[in-house]
Amino acid sequence: MTSKRAPWGLQVVGAVTAVAFAFPAAYLVYRNVTSGAERLTLLQSSRTLGPLWRTLQLSVLVSTSAAMLGVCLAWLTVRTDLPGRKFWRTVLPIPLVFPTFIGAAAFRRTLNPGGLANGVLEAVGLDGFELRGLFGAWLVLTLFTYPYVFLPVAARLLRMPGSLEESARVLGDTAPQAFRRIVLPQISGAAAAGTLLVFLYTISDFGAVQLMLYDTLTRAIETNYVARPAIAFALSLLLLALAMVVVAGERRFSGSGNVEVQARTLNPVSYTLGRLSLPASVAVMAAALMSVGAPMIAILDWATDGVLRATRDGRPLTIDTEKVVEASRNTLESSLLAALVAVIVVLPVAYLVGRYRGRIGTVSHAVVIATFAVPGILIALALRFWTLRAGFAGDLLLDTKALLIFAYVIRFGSLALGICLVAVQAVPSRLLDAASTLGAGRLRRLRTIELPLMAPGLLAAVGLVLLSTMKELPISLIIAPLGYRTLTTRIFGSFEEAFVAEAGIMAVILVAMSAVLSWLLILRKADHA
């Protein structure tokens, strides 16, 4: 925004954050240097280029469709009189919480031949339909990742003044014209940040592409871990390099959006949908049915099946209430902590990039965001690697909840950063200037002006990290203190050995919990803040 240099304290904090988030990258570089693979031959081989090309293809497709879906859903549920919009705003972020190994399996179970809703597809002439390959991976990932765009854009729309749009309408713009000329420039920052996350998530995803039988870089990495570790590490570094390029590119092109918020925007413009109300409702419902409904059908089917099967002399349920309650408590505790810490940790970086000029801000932003492309298992291994080599500090951290939270923050801090940045940039500098002229100190300005204005954005950031952490698997398995179980690790433990009913029941609890939390944190607070 301005060309001011950042205060050195902020710069130091930014640099420390960058170093912390660079742990996985440094680990990958170290592993590549110490392993003796012929990397150049590897990179030229068609077996590397093929998966790389497929990864790119899928990521571009998924980002495009998730961006469009996310923006449309956000606009419809925030800026129009769509019936039940608050309900939809609670439901639409839920796909974030499906662990991909459950989600993709649930999709197959529901839509594929012999599946629960396959009859519907056959009835409309889609005989022999099967979800797999590029199309399957694209569909599932789009439906799982649009909330990365939906949440920040909705938060942005909630705080966008209606005055400009109103003027445009008064001057004769149609609604689409006003959207393109007024709304789009205002939300483009949030949308771009969200889309970048979708892109990075897609290149790091393993669960969905594996179940959809689409051969990408992550699958090549996974199959090589034990058989040919050197190749796996080289491919992982390639993945990270790809992420860095995309992140740097996004920064260059998106620049700082000239956004503006009003201190109180309790009644933003609300379009009357009129005749369009029905089709819009149908569209939103279809999106929710596909993204939340389809996996839920399978999960509920597993769960009810389990409850009923005792009557059909199947295996009795083996669910220990006490353990499930404990796992739920752990999930709540660790994900809430991770979400709060993540926002606090990335906020200084958001300030560095959003308010000031300087290399440290640019670099730490790039490092935090690009780390989102690193698969969770590598982040887990990297942190284990560094704590074992950190001497006294490492011994203190080893096998603690603190290390687990730290790992979650590194894995998902990027989710918070994009939204925080938009929130920081959206605080009008003239308000701060005025306040400082009137003698308000830095802390006071933060408390009375900035935090209230940024609140919806910050809460959306908390929500995004929260929902993502709740479903996180590899870090929860590898880094958690021995014996510390979350709902997701319990679900994994059941699902693996055909205890699908138990997995289903716990997945229902996970989804219910996330729905309540997203309602509490994102909706209620955002609307009333």
Partner: protein
């Protein structure tokens, strides 16, 4: 500001309500507890804690192993701390931790991760009297690992789509035109990689590679793991798949009568009837090798072997325990178990061959 305070309290009330709902829901679903499962292994009163502690990394899943470890703790008074995760991920973790690992015992679903750890010299030696609990086939000559259950390769098929007369005797029949597009392979899954490595060992790399290429040419379909193949066969998405035997029994038991997939045993002498073991190891870094050995011996005890076969339908390997009644008898098998030691760097080359075949890219 009073309104703010009010809101915070409000929020707390909501949170508490949410927690209660979760707890109630969980409570209403509660059936038999895992404590119940543990009592099928040991039903006596628990020994007093010895104060000893061991750490286990388990690639076998929590639902299955937790009752075993609970029973062990109860019976011996040794505390057990566990990390459950995928065997491969745990092997990578162990390699990263090296001699500073907390783990005393590592349980693997398949031989691959064991071979990997052995190549890095991270496995300790299991006591001779423990090794003697199984036959020579089912343990390492060097004493670095011991099998504690067996899983057999079979063909799972959909009963509505495959006629009884059609069922093959050998995996080599599956390259015939009659099977075009009908067969599924979990080509990148650990157990398939292990199996294919032995295939190469038995028939030669050329024959094995040719078979895989022919399968790809015959439009064999790739699935990421055994479970997804069994599930797809039950739905009728595919006709037949090469998998480990026990998944289908588990699904059958879980699903009850509507299950539409059955196991078919290939001929005894066929490579498609291989028995692959799951293994226990003691890490070379273990601080408590005595307790670790005690646990490994416990896995091979009569009650645990019985539990493993009754609960997950795996083949017991020790203590004279008979396989669960629905399993075909194991004695008929001609081909021995996978010899991890003889495989050497076999996994690496196998991964390469599978990669080149292009099966995983459809």
């Amino acid at each position: 500001m009073p309104t703010n305070l009010l809101r915070i309290r409000n929020c707390r009330v909501h949170l508490r309500a949410a927690l209660c709902i979760v707890a109630l829901f969980a409570a209403s679903c509660g059936g038999e507890s895992t404590d119940g499962a543990a009592t099928t292994i040991y039903s006596g009163t628990c020994a007093e804690s010895t104060g000893e502690e061991i750490a286990v990394y388990s690639g076998r899943s929590e639902n299955l192993i937790e009752p075993v470890l609970d029973a062990f703790s109860c019976e011996t008074g040794v505390d057990v701390n566990v990390r459950y995760a995928d065997s491969t991920d745990l092997a990578l973790l162990l390699a990263e931790e090296g001699d500073r690992t907390q783990a005393d015992v590592f349980l693997s679903r398949s031989p691959g991760p064991i071979g990997f750890l052995e190549s890095q010299s991270l496995l300790g030696e299991i006591d001779a009297e423990v090794l003697d609990l199984v036959t020579g086939d089912n343990r390492s000559d060097a004493g670095s690992w011991i099998g504690f259950s067996g899983r057999k390769r079979v063909a799972v098929y959909n009963v509505d789509q495959v006629g009884a007369g059609e069922l093959p005797d050998s995996v080599f029949e599956l390259t015939d035109e009659a099977w075009r597009g009908r067969v599924a392979l979990p080509a990148t899954n650990g157990s398939f990689v292990d199996w294919f490595t032995v295939f190469r060992d038995q028939h030669g790399t050329d024959v094995a590679t040719q078979w895989l290429d022919d399968m790809v040419a015959n439009d064999a379909r790739y699935y990421p793991n055994n479970r997804s193949i069994v599930e797809a066969a039950a739905r009728g998405e595919i006709d037949l798949g090469l998998v480990n035997h026990y998944y289908n029994y588990q699904e059958q038991i879980a699903a009850g009568d509507d299950h539409r997939a059955l196991n078919h045993d290939l001929a005894n002498e066929d490579i498609g009837s291989l028995l692959i073991i799951t293994a226990a190891t003691v890490t070379s870094a273990s601080d408590n090798p005595d307790e670790a050995n005690e646990l490994v011996a416990y896995l091979l005890s009569e009650p645990v072997q019985r539990y493993l076969t009754e609960e997950t339908f795996e083949y017991p390997l020790a203590a004279g325990v008979q396989p669960a009644s629905l399993l075909p008898p194991l004695a008929a098998l001609e081909i021995g178990t996978v010899d991890f030691d003889a495989l050497g760097g076999g996994f690496e080359e196998t991964t390469e061959i599978i990669d080149v075949s292009g099966i995983a890219n459809q």
